[in-house]
Amino acid sequence: MMLLSAYVAALRRDLLLVMRRKTEVLTALFFFVIVTTLLPLGIGPEPDLLRKIAPGAMWIAALLATLLGLQRLFAADHADGTLEQMALSPEPLSILVAGKITAHWLVCGLPLVLLAPVIGLQFDLPTDAIGVLMLSLLIGTPLLSLLGAIGAALTLGARGSALLVSLLVLPLYVPTLIFGAGAVESHIAGLGAAGHLYLLSALLVLAAAFAPWATTAALRISLE
Amino acid sequence: MQWASLSEFFAMGGYGFYVWGSFGVCAATMVAEPLLVRHRQKMAIRAIRQSQDL
């Protein structure tokens, strides 16, 4: 009960902060939209080509959108000293961290899942493929938030740069990307998406168990 | 021994560029790395001596 209330408190605070900035809620989403919009501009408008690369491109866009939000996940708390106060809370830091990660997903991940169908339609994906895409994003985006949190925490004390986070986190994202985009593609190829989705779920369970813990360890190191 | 002459050895049956490109870069980096480390060691020792002189 106590643990739960601290978790909720951390989650609530981060959501409140996002609400205060109003536009923030929508920007992860806009980023996603804009990157997918740039794609036809960059590589030309042939519908067949676009349909072929759509699932992968949307997954990459989702991944980058998550990445952009990551840098500020702990940096702001670190700079103004609230992270210090969280580390000194009687509640386990990993619970508070879990709350923050959840908030990050609600703001940067979930909207993408909900918007995916619209973008998918723009690229003329078949309806059932869109369903698979949404499902893969629904399982995959929390994974991105969890893994990303480790990177964000590690780079905190480091003369932090947005780019360093990317360097650490993107290699960790590779399996997620492969299974996520792979699910949609193998569905389209008629091979069924179940295998990929199971693997993705297994990774999610693994990450949910270990990532908050690793993130907490990294945070304590950065605070020192 | 399968090489009739030195030039044949260097030609590597037409693959000279690729084979020597591989072995050459490998040798070069593996010579350079210890040298860099030795330089680092020297700098560390110099830094210590300097701080002792102060």
Binding site: I150, L154, T155, G157, A158, R159, G160, L164, L167, L168, L170, P171, L172, V174, P175, I178, F179, G182, E185, S186, A189, L191, L199, L203, F210, A214, A217, A218, I221, S222, E224 | Q2, W3, F9, M12, G13, G14, Y15, Y18, V19, G21, S22, F23, V25, C26, T29, M30, E33, P34, V37, R38, R40, Q41, A44, I45, A47, I48, R49, S51, Q52
Partner: protein, 247 residues
């Protein structure tokens, strides 16, 4: 265990490493000499690939080492986080550049091999891609380590990263494999060399041993420099013959 902790004190480790380094250099030179002799003069010309296949004698050992070193780094990281020994972090960070070097050599020699064999420098094949990502993991570790000033903190942050990374390595390896098998559309496929002649195997093994000895020698050298940089103000460093002589 007690004994181990004694050796993990930098003041004992430094002179010990100093004695070991020449031994491993000698080993590396010997293995390399024999390995290269076998590779260039004993091993026969390959039926399909001509002389080009001789790249295998550095490509495969370098690939092996690049993966092996990452695991060793993770091992030291685990030791460092659990027993809080200073030595572990130093060893980890001493190994990383060499690991990155081998990953780079694997990529480089692979590319130089691929051009004549496959007609292209690079394909997005599973093994190649996962090696590339391994290279990124090394670079990430080094970048993170360099970006944190306090060496103690840098070690521990690096340790967390290498542990997370090592969990990820097999996942990447297998996921990339599965990824590739689902896309049979690739126009290029790996030309399998015929079952390896035992001379070839010996050559590769000897070269791998040479690389292994080289790695230990260089890592020990680098660990010694790191020790001097970090412990410059302590007494045992001030009394080292290395530091005192030729003042």
């Amino acid at each position: 265990m007690i004994n181990w902790f004694k050796f993990s004190a930098p003041s004992t480790f430094y002179p010990l490493a100093g004695k070991l380094i020449p031994i491993f250099w000698t080993l590396a030179a010997l293995f390399a000499a024999v390995g290269l002799y076998i590779g260039f003069f004993v091993a026969p010309t390959d039926a399909q690939q001509g002389e080009g296949y001789r790249i295998i004698f550095i490509h495969v050992p370098a690939s092996w080492m690049s993966m092996f070193i990452y695991c060793v780094m993770a091992f030291w990281a685990l030791m460092g986080l659990t027993f809080q020994t200073r030595l572990s972090g130093m060893m980890s960070s001493a190994l990383a550049p060499t690991g990155a070097l081998f990953a780079f050599l694997s990529l480089w020699t692979g590319a130089l091999w691929g051009k004549p064999m496959w007609g292209t420098w690079w394909v997005w094949d599973a093994r190649l891609t996962s090696e590339l990502i391994l290279f990124f993991l090394y670079l990430g570790y080094m970048a993170l380590h360099a970006a944190i000033d306090d060496p103690r903190r840098a070690d521990r942050a690096g340790a967390v990263l290498s542990l997370v990374g090592v969990v990820n390595v097999p996942i990447i390896y297998f996921s990339v494999t599965w990824w590739n098998t689902l896309h049979q559309g690739a126009s290029v496929s790996l030309t399998k060399s015929p079952s390896m002649a035992s001379t070839m195997l010996w050559g590769m093994l000897l070269m791998a041993l040479a690389f292994w000895a080289y790695t230990i020698a260089v890592a020990l050298m680098r660990a010694r420099s790191i020790m001097l940089e970090r412990e410059g103000n302590t007494e045992w460093v001030k009394h080292l013959p290395d530091v005192k002589e030729a003042v």
